[in-house]
């Protein structure tokens, strides 16, 4: 008998011992809820053990119904006597986890409905686990009382709910569904993920905000001021949230960068306590700060187009960075249309001069002529045959061909030429004089020809010329000529 009394009093003792901390925690949560501020190091330090500690009570509370079921089978009747112990450990574990959780929530800059729901869920789990323990008693009999059964079902439901909210807090609100395969998603009648997330921002990628400002916030800020964590109640993950501001009021004052809290914080010296990004995270680059300043000065609009803001520095962090290369899609139909007018003439000439004539690129109707491969088989008569397509030729190489000065009017008529090569030909100064009409010419090659200093005057008139090749000609570095022309020459 005395043995039974001792056991009973031990149970009462344990019941009270666990009820007291639950009540204390309840008071704490009511009096000091998470408010988005960061607090002392000790609280934060302890708080970060919360995610580790929660798994013990969760696992045990899920285990209890399994043990209850298995214990009623023929195979594991001995399990039933351990349920009492399991529930006791789970209650203690839940109390510990809640205490640590409060430390984290109170000190780590959390606020909002997610954390509130998670917190109350956690408290209710502890209460429910305690009730389970109380209602079940020590019995290892196969009879289950209805109160205990209800409490156990409520407990498991609460554990699932609270655990899911906790996952959302640490890994993002869509952490379970964001990688769901598209097919399964359709099967369950869910929205495509992309459209879910895009509704959260009203400033699209074509706006200056969407293209140039939000990426900065997304890269540097939303770790602490985002969906999951919003320290000081500030969120910088959408335009509306940015303009809504923090618990201290607006952080952006349109047209007034220096009066805007965001701009003030990112421009403070790195040693200042208020500087953002905090905790020695990498600061914003000068270009990023400049972009934010321009955006605020221009009215901090969410709809202004990306092109309308002037003098915007490049995207990436360092000033030496160069824009990434992108490829433009060509439109084959439009190109075919441009080529149509001369297509038959081009085809005919391509057959007559194999490999010598081709379009500049797949996306272009301009022609490139390389007669050099035809060598002495290409002369003045052949060049004359190119007349129908002369306006389309942008580059012509006559190196080593048999053309003479007689062809110079035909070459001069190729008004769009940017590159002209006359190396190893019989071209003389007389021909050069007619070439002044080639106003688009950028590169001119007279390598191994008989041209002399007399040709320099007409060449000097070519407005766009950048490269002039004069090796093996009568012109040498000693030939007097304007300095400006000399800089373009390769001897």
């Amino acid at each position: 008998m005395s043995f039974a009394v001792q056991r009973l009093s031990a149970r009462v003792g344990f019941g009270l011992l666990t009820l007291v901390p639950i009540l204390i925690l309840l008071l704490l949560v009511l009096l000091a809820p998470p408010d988005g501020n960061e607090r002392t190091e000790w609280l934060q330090f302890l708080g970060h053990f919360h995610p580790i500690a929660v798994h013990l009570p969760i696992a045990i509370l899920i285990l209890v119904p399994l043990v209850e079921l298995a214990g009623r089978s023929r195979f594991f009747p001995q399990l039933l006597s351990s349920v009492d112990f399991l529930l006791g450990v789970a209650t203690c574990g839940a109390i510990g986890a809640i205490a640590l959780g409060w430390c984290l929530a109170r000190s780590g800059g959390y606020s909002g409905s997610l954390v509130t729901q998670h917190m109350w869920g956690g408290l209710l789990v502890a209460v429910a686990a305690w009730l389970c323990w109380l209602l079940r008693g020590r019995s290892s009999e196969s009879h289950l009382n209805r109160g205990y059964l209800t409490a156990l079902i409520v407990t498991v439901t609460l554990v699932s709910f609270t655990g899911y909210r906790g996952g959302q807090l640490s890994q993002g609100e869509n952490h379970l569904t964001e990688h769901m395969p598209e097919r399964l998603r359709t099967l369950l009648g869910m929205q495509a993920f992309a459209s879910v997330s895009s509704t959260s921002s009203n400033a699209g990628p074509a706006t200056f905000y969407g293209a140039r400002i939000q990426p900065i916030f997304s890269q540097h800020c939303i770790g602490c001021h985002g969906q999951a964590k919003h320290k000081a109640n500030l969120r910088l993950d959408t335009y509306d949230r940015v303009m809504h501001g923090s618990k201290h009021g607006p952080v952006i004052k349109a047209g007034n960068p220096t009066g805007s809290e965001v701009f003030r914080r990112i421009t403070l010296p790195p040693t200042d306590d208020d500087v953002m990004p905090a905790e020695h995270k990498p600061p914003l680059s000068p270009n990023e700060i400049k972009r934010i300043e321009l955006w605020i000065s221009a009215g901090a609009s969410g709809t202004q187009s990306a092109e309308s803001v002037q003098d915007v520095p490049a995207d990436s962090g360092t000033s030496t960075a160069v824009a990434e290369i992108t490829f433009e899609e060509s439109d084959p139909a439009a190109v075919a249309q441009q080529r149509a007018r001369l297509a038959s003439a081009v085809l005919q000439l391509q057959q007559r001069f194999p490999s010598a004539l081709d379009y500049q690129s797949r996306a272009s109707a301009d022609l490139v002529l390389d007669a050099s491969l035809l060598g002495s088989n290409f002369g003045d008569n052949q060049l004359a045959a190119l007349t129908p397509i002369r306006d389309q030729i942008v580059s012509a190489d006559f190196s080593g061909t048999a053309i003479t000065d007689a062809s110079s009017p035909a070459i001069a008529a190729m008004k769009r030429l940017r590159t002209l090569r006359l190396a190893h030909t019989k071209i003389t100064d007389a021909a050069v004089k007619t070439l002044v009409s080639l106003t688009q010419l950028e590169s001119l090659n007279f390598f191994d020809t008989a041209i002399t200093a007399d040709a320099l005057a007409p060449i000097g008139q070519l407005p766009k010329l950048r490269h002039l090749y004069l090796h093996d000609t009568k012109i040498s570095p000693d030939t007097p000529m304007p300095e400006e022309l000399r800089k373009k020459i390769t001897f």
Partner: protein, 419 residues
């Protein structure tokens, strides 16, 4: 440059490494790394040659390449190249074909497949070897892989007949050869209509190409037709099989519209295990062998105006370590370095390239990249971009995939090198 030339003896000026020469290599250089030979704790090895700044661009270069130094303002260095292969053959395959395994087409084959040949009388992709040995990666380095073999590189001999048995034997006239080829052609066409194998078409095309090459190839390869002063500027000697002669031939081929030309010079694997592999002996010889010819090639292309539309790429398959080798746990008899896939230097010049600049940076020991890493696939994407391709679109359907030279990982064009 087959065998991986040491960037630390040519272009990577690292005074801090020179200061720490002879000290034990820090453990952080070795942890988690795989080496071809390094064992135990090797000693750090400073540059073996003095460095100085050269040209108006003020880029650093060692005293081993005095001729190239005069062209330095035309060069664009990438000092932050990176590979994931630390042995020669797979690393060379990766550089040349975009994959360390056999069976993928070389970059030259891709380019030929995309651009087509310009000169009908010469192969569009020609390979020349020097240095006494073939590169470790073998002929697959210029193979066509899963592309039709009509796009493979054609290796030509660098002295004597460029292609063996190209000339007609005695008693066989050109018309007789023609009628013989016509007969073979007829049989091949029958075979093709029966079996439909694209390799048969390749065979027909090769016969036709060879017939046309009989006229042109010998002329294109014949450097005796170059004026004496040009040969002297390249350091070329008639009758030799040398990098100098190959450079001169390369220019003649480029002039004739050959799309893609590769020169391999063997012997850069400076481990320090033999005199020929020592940084102070064989390596110095290699530098002498390539310095004047490659500088002369650059100068020649420039004066002829060909630099505008010719792209020149120089490099090895990986870099060399900042420390000595300690092969088998012993200090090496001669001075050398092991393979370093983590960082190496290449240079580019010519059309579309911004001259006189350096991209990327390694740490002060020249061991790891600290800025702007460039992967092999990025280099391929960049080369293709300069040649007018979108690397994402240059593909060939094989084994159910749109195969690309840049593979499946995202590749980027390096914007800084572009003029």
């Amino acid at each position: 440059m087959a065998g991986a030339p040491s960037q630390l003896e040519l272009f990577e000026h690292k005074p801090e490494l020179t200061r720490l020469d002879g000290q034990d290599c820090p453990a952080s250089f070795l942890v988690g790394k795989r080496f071809a030979f390094i064992n135990g704790i090797p000693k750090l090895l400073g540059s073996q040659y003095p460095f100085h700044q050269a040209g108006q661009s003020g880029q650093w270069i060692s005293d081993r390449l005095p001729h190239l130094e005069r062209q330095i303002d035309n060069l664009c260095f990438i000092k932050s190249m990176r590979t994931d292969q630390f042995n020669h053959a797979p690393a060379q395959l990766l550089v040349q074909t975009g994959d360390a395994r056999l069976g993928h087409p070389s970059l030259g084959s891709w380019v030929l497949y995309g651009l087509g040949t310009e000169n009908q009388n010469l192969p569009g992709f020609i390979v020349l070897l020097s240095g006494g040995n073939s590169p470790d990666g073998g002929k697959q380095l210029w193979g066509s892989g899963f592309l039709p073999s009509v796009y493979q590189g054609v290796q030509c001999r660098s002295h004597g007949e460029p292609v063996l048995y190209l000339d007609n034997p005695g008693g066989v006239s050109r018309p007789l050869r023609r009628s013989m080829l016509d007969a073979i052609d007829e049989i091949n066409r029958q075979t093709y209509s029966e079996f439909g194998n694209p390799e048969t078409v390749t065979r027909i095309a090769q016969y036709e190409m060879c017939f046309r090459m009989q006229m042109d190839a010998t002329d294109a390869m014949d450097i005796r037709k170059e004026p004496e002063e040009v040969r002297v500027s390249y350091g070329s000697k008639l009758g030799e099989s040398s990098f100098a002669n190959n450079c001169l031939v390369a220019r003649r081929l480029a002039e004739r519209g050959v799309r893609f030309i590769q020169l391999y010079h063997w012997g850069w694997d400076s481990h320090g295990s033999s005199a020929n592999e020592a940084l102070n002996i064989g390596f110095a010889d290699r530098c002498r062998e390539v310095d004047q010819p490659m500088a002369a090639l650059l100068a020649d292309l420039k004066t002829r105006g060909m630099m505008e539309d010719t792209l020149i790429v120089w490099g090895g398959e990986f870099g060399r370590t900042s420390m000595r080798e300690n092969r088998g746990g012993q200090a090496m008899a001669l001075i050398g370095r092991d393979h370093n896939p983590g960082a190496f230097t290449i240079w580019m010049a010519g059309g579309g390239i911004k001259p006189g600049i350096t991209i990327g940076q390694t740490d002060e020991m020249g061991y790891e990249i600290v800025r702007d890493p460039v992967e092999i696939r990025d280099l391929h994407a960049t080369i293709l971009y300069i040649l007018g391709f979108d690397h994402r679109k240059l593909n060939y359907v094989y084994q159910g995939l749109d195969q690309k030279v840049t593979g499946v990982k995202p590749a980027r064009v390096v914007p800084q090198v572009l003029a």
